[in-house]
Every structure is written in C-alpha cells, then in structure tokens.
Symmetry: C2
Subunit: 511 residues, 2 copies
C-alpha cells in the first residue's frame, strides 16, 4: 500500500464506560493499533484530545505525521475530516523558493507558487551571504530569519491560492542545497566551502514544524544530501528522474553558479560537483544580467542581421544565460567567430573593435566582447569536462547515454539546439536531451507522497561515489579541449558539423 | 550492565580531514555507535555541536537522555566531564514536593529537600483544586504554574545545597498521583474523580524538560499509574518495596486523604483504593490540625493524667493524625472509652459533658468529642476494611503477610503500637510492620538510576488487578466490624488483648 508522510484517519472509538475506562491516551493508541498504526502522542496533542474527550462522542479524525521513527499524533478533530489532508513540498533555492500544496489523498497539486529568497538582501551570491555570517551568530540569525520569511511568504500564498486551512497541512518536505539547509537550521555554513568540507549536517531528517518555526502541524523533512556540494536538491533530482532505478545509463546535470552532476543507473552512481561560474547565468559577462525584464533571452542571426528576443518586449538592457548561448551558437554557425571563439571583423559590420579588443554589438549599444566569450567558454568547458570526465571514469561512451537531464532554470530556458551547437550538451538525438524542470521540487513532492522513498534515499546516498574533480591531473587538458566550439574533437558533434555546413551553403546560395 | 536514564560519555572523535569529511552529525552518531549507543540528535544540540566543531579538537563529553525509544544527545561539552553527571528524583505530593539530587554515576544522594506544593493556595484538599479548574482553562493554567513553581523551588534549593550546575542535570523522574500529573501536564483532572473514571493519561512517559518548562537538559519521565486512584506514586512504591519480585506476600498501604493498597508478591498483585477521609490527617476532628507547630503529635495517659507531645514544644493548639491515634489507643487501653469508642465519664475528670455530648479534654481547653471519635473510627474502618477485603479476595490469612508497608507521612509519624491497638494496622510481629518512608521518592530514584526498571513498570501495571470496593456488597458489614477498637473480632488482635489486661492490672495494682 502506498503510504505518504502523513495520514488522516477517521476512527469511531468506543466511548469510555466504568468497565472500559482506559485513559484517553491508551484509547487513542489502541484504536490506532487496531488500524495497524504504532504511534506516539506528544504533549500538546494529548492536551487537545483530553479537552475533546470531556464532552465528545469519540468520533474523531486523527492526523499523523511520520517522524522518521514512528507516527506522531499531531492533531485530533471531531467528526470525519479525512479528506482535508494536505502537505507542502518546497524547493529552497538560493535565488527562488518554490512551493507546492498537495492533496495527500489524491496527490493532486492544489497550488504552486514561488518567491525570491529573502537571503538575497544579504548578497546575490551564496559566498557573500556565507562571509556575512562568519563568526557572527547574530548575522546567522538574520539569514535564518530571511530563510524562514521566504518560506512563510510562499506558504501564505499557497493558503490563499488553495483556500485550504493551514491546520490541515500535516507534513512538509524541503529540498535545498547544503548551504540553504544550514541557513534554515541556523547553522554556520562556512564549512560547506572550506577545507576539509566536513559540514554540520547532510541529513537533518525530520524536525518538528514548531521547532523550526513553520506553521505545519507535524514534521518537516529535509531531503538529505551526499556532501557539501551535493545537497538534498540533487538527491531530490535522483528521485524525480528515477535514475537510480533505471536500467539504462542516464546523466543528471544541474548547472548554475555551481554544476552538480550524476551519471549512472540502478547499478552505479558516479557524482561530482564543481564551480561552473556565474558566467552561465550571465553573471560575469560585461552586459550580462539575470533573466528579468530587458534581458535578451534569445538570439538569431539571419541574412547578416541579429534578431533578439527581449524579456518583457521592450528595449534590451543586457543579456542572460540563454541569450548568451544562443548568441554564441549563432556567431559560430554564421562563422562570425571561429571554433576558438575569435571574432572575425570581416564577417559583419556589427563586429566592432574598440581599444584593441573585438566584440559584437548584439543589440543597440550592447557589446559582447572577446573577453566575455573567453570567460564564457572557460565556464562552459568546466561544466562539460565534468560530464566527460565522469563518463571516462565509468568507461561509458556518450552514445550510451539514454537520457541527459538538465535541471533547474538552465534546463528550462536554454535552447537545446544552441546548447548542443556550442558543445554545452552532448550531441545526442534530441529526444534524449531532457529538461528535468524543477527536479528539486518534484523530488520533494514525490517523497512527501511516498514514505517508502525514504529508504531509497539512504540507498542512493550510500551508492553514490563522489569524484573530486580538483584532484584529477588531466582535468586541465580535458578542459582545454572542451573550450572550443563545440569541441576540438568535432567527431563528437556530427549534427553541429552538419548544421554548420548547411548554414555555409545557405549563405553561399544567398550571396 | 546497569544503565541509568542518562549517560555522559567522553569520546575523542577523529578530527575531520578531506578523506574523512563526514558531517558533524554523522561523526557524533558514528562515534556513539562504536560505543554501542544508537542515538538521535535534536536540532538544538546539533547547533551546539556545530558551533563547537568549528575550532574544537573533537574531544567531547556527550550527554545522553533516554526518551523511551532511543538515546537523545542533549548536550556536548569540550573536554572530559563524565563525572559531572546528575539527575533529579521528585515526589510530587499534593501537600509537599520532595526532591533528591543524585550523582548518576555513583547513585549517591547529594541533596534532598522539600517545599509545600504551591497548589495549596487553591485549596488544601485536592477536590477544591479540581473544582476550581472545572471548565476554566485559565484556572487550570494557574494550577499548572503553581505545580511548576513548586518543582522549580525545590530544584533551586537542590542547586544551592549540592553546588552543582544545573546544566549537568540530564534526566528527571517525577512520581505523583494521577491528579498531580494532570495538573503538571495542564490537563483537566476532573475525570479522576468522576464516572467513568477514564482519565486523560496514566502513562505520560518521557517528556522533554523544555516542553514541560523545567530546566533539565534532557527528558522528564513521569512514573506511570494504574488508574485514576492508583497513580505513579503507588507504582513507585512497588519499585521501592520490591513487592512485585517478592516470594512472600506483602502489603503496601498508603494512607492519607485517600487510601491506596496493594497486596501481592511476584505471582499476583491485587490493588484497590478508596476515600479514607481527611480524618486520618486530623482534618475533620473539631480541634484537628495538620502536623505543624502547636499540634499534639503524641499522647500518653499515665496515672489518670494525660501527657501530650506538642510539635515545637509550646502549648497545644490542636491535634494531628499521629496524636489522635495515640489518644484513642490510650483512651481505650485505660478504658476511658469502650470498644465502641464511647466515653465513660466515670473514668476520669478529664471527660466532660457539654450540651449533652461527651468528650475528653486532652490538653488545656482542647476537646476530643464523641463525634470526633465516631468520625475517626469510621475512617479507620474504611481503611482497614480495604485490607481485610483484599486479603479475603485473595484467600490469604493475615498471618501470611510477611511485610506490611505503610507509606507516606502516616507510616513515618504514627506510633506502630498505637496503630495496632486501635486496629488500624494488623496485629503482626512488630518487625513485619514497616515504615515504607517516602516510597514515591525512593521509587523515582530507583527508576532514574536503573533504566531496566522501565520494563518492570509495564509488567507491574499489567499484572495488577484492580478491585472496586464500592461494588462489593458485604463491604458495609465488614466496615461495621472494623469500626470497633481494635475490631469486633478480638481474636485477630491478641497483643492488644494482652496489653489491655496489663493496663488493667497495672491500674488495679496502683489503686
């Protein structure tokens, strides 16, 4: 039988008589035992049920929340309310917090919403936030409060959207990286980025909503992580993609400021993580910006002209990750840059030279410089080399990858074709290249609805073998090769070769 | 190996390295596992140990508190502090709270102290307090606060007396009757005295000190009771006397406002409880008072003169329970009253008649009236009949009682000889009549020091068979017989018969 992390059960208990005057506590526990449920009753619920017992008819709905060891009776209601039974799955991202309210009986999603992580006030990048807290317990408290405020904000939204009562929200699952979980628990996350990388906690397990300061009746489960860089969000991704049960080999790649990677199937799981660099999110590029209003998010070059898709439809203010990848792909296919990313000013009047440096004016007044290109290609190369290295370690040719999942915002917004063209994604049949969506949230929801997943989590973490990229001697050589567009080993990118030829023929026909 | 309800263990954990960068949580749990201890770490301790881990050398003393299911890590200290390890045993009486601080390693008692239960402000007798709370959650809160204040008062005293730090107090055991436990947990105890006598809780088990509002690092165990009238104090008495392990048959009798009784050995345990009435504590008697300054606590009649022992040594203001029992015994032995308790004014000029009623002036201006005598004998009879009835039910002659334990203040202060003379205690060899002392406190201490006692508690409660006295048809007849001094069946009191003859001969010789 499928069991979720919470239950609501309507029981008609026998009313007390002089012949059967068990205590309220014993009566409830016995009634649950008859349903095959071994439970505990915390003090606050014991008080509640004793109040109800005084005049009640003992026809009660019992809410139970799993705490990792046993079921806790967290609420008692008069009458049958089995159907008013909800739970919250939450992705605690460093930028965005996304939450979903689920009906725990049907699994139906009643509402989904998101909010910026209030931690941003203390720094857009994680390291700034971490240094803000170093040796400052008061600052750590501020970050914890910011985290809780963000979660409370989405919970308020969920309540409004779903028109449910928060008293019926029994359990919650939070998925986030190791740093986010440390902030949530008010534990200094300096350890996450500092040798020897022994963090405070990777598996906090179940915590009571009260203890955490969240208005959940029962317990909050934090999805366990593997290590400092491979947090609960990645393990959630494993649950969401089903890779650890798969016969075929699959790749899971979460690319952002950091890149986290898992390659494997039901027999093995290799994983690694490394700094991919903020370039992928538009961070380091001169005119780079986050994917918000005014950002160029898509680029095409047709007939020597550059066409941009701008978020919000107004004039361009800068370029975000997906825009950059499109831009580089189009520059390459149109041969405005060569395989090293070097601009060829003869190819277009849009390629300018200023103070001895080249660049393309991709939108009026906005330049993408040679250094931007190089920075970005280094970052791309770091990300791609993680995949190549892990594949080589496991002796698996790219052709055997049944699915290549890209998680997070990157997977959602980037053009698959452009990502293959620049060599960011492997050149596989396109249906094998999957957008994993918010797999952190999906995994959290899966765990919330399926208690048996908890055992799976432990197995996944045990089976994962972490590969330290920094320790790899020839990593640097591999990176150099991956810095080319799409790669020095063009054989690996047949579709890109073909497409480039098509572009060339098209251009030649035209002129 | 003897295990207590708490542990303090010094462990030198391996320091984190890049090759062994387990999380702080995993490192501590693994270290404990190596010592054979399966534990959990609550959030507040996790934070504490993470703070220590930042610069520490990982040579830590771990404090563990048993919570009924597993060991909880409740404190982490730098260095070896295994020896600074204490626990509190507490008897939560309706009049007095008595507590003892124990060294958990040696079992040594470092301090013992008591205080009046602050609940007294809401009524000296329990029923007044219960009615004060009926349907008034705010009043119930006041009683809870009064209970906690009483406990805090003795804890403050213990800290001062023992010169220990409260941070080293890891676990606590509280023993009290069912009403006291309900007040402690802020649960309405009306159920204790009201049909169908299904109380809120008889076995609250382990509660965290924080949750209860007591400054104990770990958990507080409330000794479980059998039913409404047979609370944890009586079950503690079983642990203290060892009756449930005994080959021989023993009787445990706790006499106060209510009488609670257990008869049995390792094979059976019959128990019962009934209202003994406040008369035994001096409550109903006209000049009765509690055993405090000015109370007559001992009486002898020699040569026609009454000699009184007065608490504090000043002039008498009234008479308490032990004084009354002495007085009645002496009146009977000197034949100032007959076996029915009827005064014979011819026997002494101290026997006065006023407004058609007789009484004895036991101290200047203080009278003990015929009605007082009758009230007291009714009460005595109720108490004695419980014993007789249970013995008859089990088919056991009095002579087979190896030990007759009398618990509480009654057992401590009353003269055994006088109690036998008036028929309150059975006429057994005097060494079989034992003062059980504060067996509620003794049992609590025993449980605190011996974790294996927890299993015993469950067995004791399961084995106990509760006999409802009210339901017994011929109980009334038995009571009538027990109302005499010492009893209508004089054969049962050979030593009393003998003593009365001695007194008569002595008197006759004298005059």
């Amino acid at each position: 039988m499928n069991e979720a992390l919470s239950k609501k059960i309507y029981i008609e208990f026998p009313c007390p008589t002089e012949d059967d005057n068990r205590s309220d506590k014993a009566r409830v526990l016995d009634g649950l035992e008859e349903q095959g449920i071994s439970a505990r009753i915390p003090l606050h619920t014991l008080r509640e049920l004793h109040r109800l017992s005084e005049d009640g008819d003992w026809k009660w709905t019992i809410s139970l929340s799993w705490n990792g060891d046993f079921w806790e009776v967290v609420r008692v209601e008069e009458g049958n309310h089995e159907n008013e039974h909800y739970g919250v799955a939450l992705d605690l991202g460093s930028t965005t917090v996304v939450a979903r309210l689920l009906h725990m009986g049907t699994g139906e999603c009643l509402a989904e919403t998101s909010a910026y992580n209030h931690q941003i006030a203390f720094g857009t990048d994680i390291l700034t936030r971490i240094f803000y807290c170093k040796d400052r317990p008061d600052h750590l408290g501020e970050l914890r409060d910011a985290t809780l405020d963000s979660i409370r904000e989405v919970m308020d939204q969920l309540e409004e959207l779903s028109e449910t009562s928060r008293e019926d929200w029994i359990s919650m699952v939070i998925s986030g990286n190791t740093t986010m979980i440390h902030f949530l628990l008010e534990m200094d996350p300096f350890c996450v980025f500092h040798t020897p990388y022994a963090v405070g906690v990777t598996a906090p397990g179940f915590l009571s909503g009260r203890e955490l300061g969240l208005s959940i009746q029962g317990n909050v489960f934090c999805v366990p992580g593997k290590s400092n860089y491979l947090g609960g969000d990645i393990i959630s991704g494993m649950i969401a993609t089903g890779i650890p049960q798969s016969e075929e080999i699959q790749v899971f790649f979460d690319i952002g400021t950091n890149g986290e990677l898992v390659i494997g199937n039901k027999e093995f799981l290799l994983c690694g993580a490394g700094a991919a660099g903020p370039a992928l999110e538009g961070g380091v590029v001169t005119t780079g910006m986050r994917a918000s209003e005014g950002a160029v998010e898509g680029v095409r070059i047709r007939g020597g002209k550059i066409f941009c898709d701008v978020i919000g439809g107004g004039s361009a203010r800068g370029i975000c990750g997906s825009g950059i990848i499109d831009l580089i792909a189009e520059l390459y296919l149109n041969e405005w840059v060569d395989f090293k990313g070097t601009f060829n000013p003869e190819k277009s009047s849009r390629i300018h030279e200023q103070n001895g440096r080249c660049g393309v004016e991709y939108a009026p007044g906005l330049m993408f410089w040679q250094e931007d290109m190089e920075e970005f290609l280094r970052t791309k190369s770091a990300a791609v080399t993680m995949v190549e290295y892990l594949l080589r370690e496991s002796g698996i040719p790219k052709s055997e990858i049944a699915k290549f999942h890209v998680a997070g915002a990157f997977g959602k917004h980037v053009s698959v074709e452009s990502a293959v063209t620049i060599g960011m994604y492997p050149d596989l049949e396109r249906e094998r290249l999957c957008n994993a969506g918010n797999s952190s949230l999906e995994g959290a929801a899966e765990i919330l609805l399926h208690k048996e997943t908890l055992d799976e989590l432990d197995k996944i973490i045990d089976n994962m073998v972490y590969i330290q990229f920094g320790a790899v001697e020839d990593f640097v050589h591999m990176m150099a090769a991956a810095q080319a567009i799409p790669h020095t080993d063009l054989e690996q990118y047949p579709s890109v070769q073909k497409k480039r030829l098509e572009y060339r023929n098209f251009q030649e026909e035209k002129f």
